[in-house]
Symmetry: C2
């Protein structure tokens, strides 16, 4: 059973992380390790080893013990501890520094503050739960504990502010790659920032930008993914329009593995974007999207345009062909199903 | 003599502003007011009146006193106290709340923090001195004490983030109007954000934007003006390229009056911008600018384009016609004199 917020915070504060890591490493390297070996290696008593193992169990680690063989490691809990994510992470800067919390208002708030105090590009804020998770236009993002990925990354690209609009698109491609690589699910992208599976929303991307008129100061790029979220976590009107990776695959999906893969894909695509621009990634976005070639209604500020979504241009803007043949460029907005036409009575 | 930073801060903390205001009001209404009348009206002793008057004098207010006539008000110091600015300010929201400091790193920092804690649109941060005043691209803005206007205003327009590029242009027009109304100087605008007088820089505008990809959260619009700045305040390489209003007019210019007028013009043009868009203001910008019809070199990020500046478009972007006839749109950047062509030896 997973611990409550208070328990974990208390443990992280008082239990020496310095002990947790070497104990886990030794346990994971061999099938069995005796209490005596652990105690000797760590220069602590066998009773202290026993106490640390019990704390690890309370954190969700499964560890067997027998008088004959000593301790044996069974499995990790799926908690987003920085050392769990960092173990085997192949990036050079993305997620190398992790600001982990059990509960936050929004990881965007944590990463935003960190960006303002000068934290480096690639620093991420991640949390088990958000009390005021948000999506585009201040919409609420439901973020139940231990079930989703709520991750915000600090980016500092030397780009004009208008280029920031492309970040959610390239991040979408990274999310698709990561989900494909860690599950058998093939999601699609809905312009501008939704991750869809079987026509339902499984995730979203939010870019909050600080800039002047010449250049971006920093971007806090937020990624929210319904990984092991249950339908019952959502209010009933939403249950028909959202889904989760567990919902689709029928089994629990490792958040740690998915985060690690996501950070790796994000670093790779971000570097490609900085060196080669949006155009090469545009093709991959198009090959994964479910918006183009659909009849849609695009709502952008006070304006509504209905027509066929025909492409995204080199800047990432959506091109909509209206029934009169006129092509309109949508810079930002929501894509909705078209208004149903009244059937003509013959 | 004006007080040092510490003196003023101490006075503002310990001297009841509640007393300063009614004393000044009574003094300004009549030619002479006796100590007894003041003491009676304010329910304090004549000695207390005397102490308050002395503090006002130390703040820079000129107040005469004679045994026969009592006190008589001569003039205010040109300090940017909120009550001095607010007295006669005709705006409905612009500058109605003023965050005043003697010295700050940058008024942009003060207003940015205020915006994040939710201060209302129109709130301004103003200071007598900036230790780390900044212009576009993190350039240093020299901000000597009691000599310039260093003002940052919080704006919260419900607009797409790309529209933020127009704010420095409309603010430029407001600055031109305010300078014309309070002095006999006719400045010009250099795209995108410089206030020029006689071909030298007298001020600049900086817009720092917080947004997502759909909408602006807030803008901190900074205005820096060399009002009574002396040439000697600038390092010698800059002395030939900068100027101040005092430099041009030959006399001290009231900063308080100019700030009041600027806030009024800014509110009026901002409301026009929100209701009618950039286009009507574009004409006024064009009529006050010194960029269009000049041969220029535009440096935008890594790119440099030389040609004739021919117009600004409906979005506020600069249109440059290259010698081959090709017209390039410059979204942001610096406008410099063209590279001098080597004379051909005949």
């Amino acid at each position: 059973m997973l611990l409550s917020k208070v328990d974990i915070t208390t443990i992280l504060r008082y239990n020496s992380l310095v002990m947790r890591e070497p104990i886990l490493r030794m346990l994971q390297q061999k099938e069995h390790v005796s209490g005596e070996t652990l105690a000797h290696s760590l220069s602590i008593s066998r009773t202290a080893v026993w106490k640390h193992v019990n704390i690890l169990r309370r954190m969700g680690y499964e560890i067997n013990s027998s008088p004959h063989f000593g301790y044996s490691f069974i499995k990790s809990p799926d908690l987003l501890f920085p050392d769990e994510i960092n173990c085997g992470l192949s990036t050079s800067f993305m997620g190398k520094r992790i600001l982990y919390s059990t509960e936050v208002t929004s990881t965007q708030d944590v990463a935003g503050k960190a960006a303002r105090r000068g934290e480096e590009e690639g620093t991420i804020a991640i949390a088990e739960k958000q009390s005021r998770g948000r999506g585009r236009k201040g919409r609420h993002w439901i973020s139940p504990i231990h079930s989703g990925i709520y991750l915000s990354v600090i980016l500092r690209p030397s780009l004009r502010p208008d280029r920031a609009l492309q970040l959610p698109l390239i991040a979408g491609v990274a999310v698709i790659r990561a989900i494909k690589a860690t599950t058998k699910i093939v999601p699609t992208l809905k312009w501008p920032n939704d991750i869809m599976v079987n026509g339902k929303k499984a995730g979203g991307i939010l870019a909050e930008i600080s800039s002047d008129t010449d250049e971006i100061h920093y971007i806090v790029l937020g990624i929210g993914l319904n990984v092991n979220v249950l339908k019952s976590h959502f209010p009933s009107p939403l249950q028909e329009t959202v889904t989760s990776l567990m919902d689709i695959s029928g089994h629990h999906v490792s958040r740690v593995r998915l985060v690690r893969c996501l950070l790796s894909e994000l670093e790779s695509i971000y570097l490609e974007f900085l060196t080669s621009g949006f155009d090469s990634i545009r093709k991959e976005w198009l090959s994964s999207n479910n918006t183009i070639n659909s009849e849609i209604k695009a709502v952008s500020g006070p304006e509504t345009i209905e027509g066929k979504a025909i492409d995204i241009d080199k800047d990432g803007f959506l091109l909509v062909k209206e029934p009169n043949g006129h092509i309109t460029k949508i810079i930002s907005g929501d894509v909705l199903p078209p208004t149903k036409k009244q059937e003509r009575i013959p």
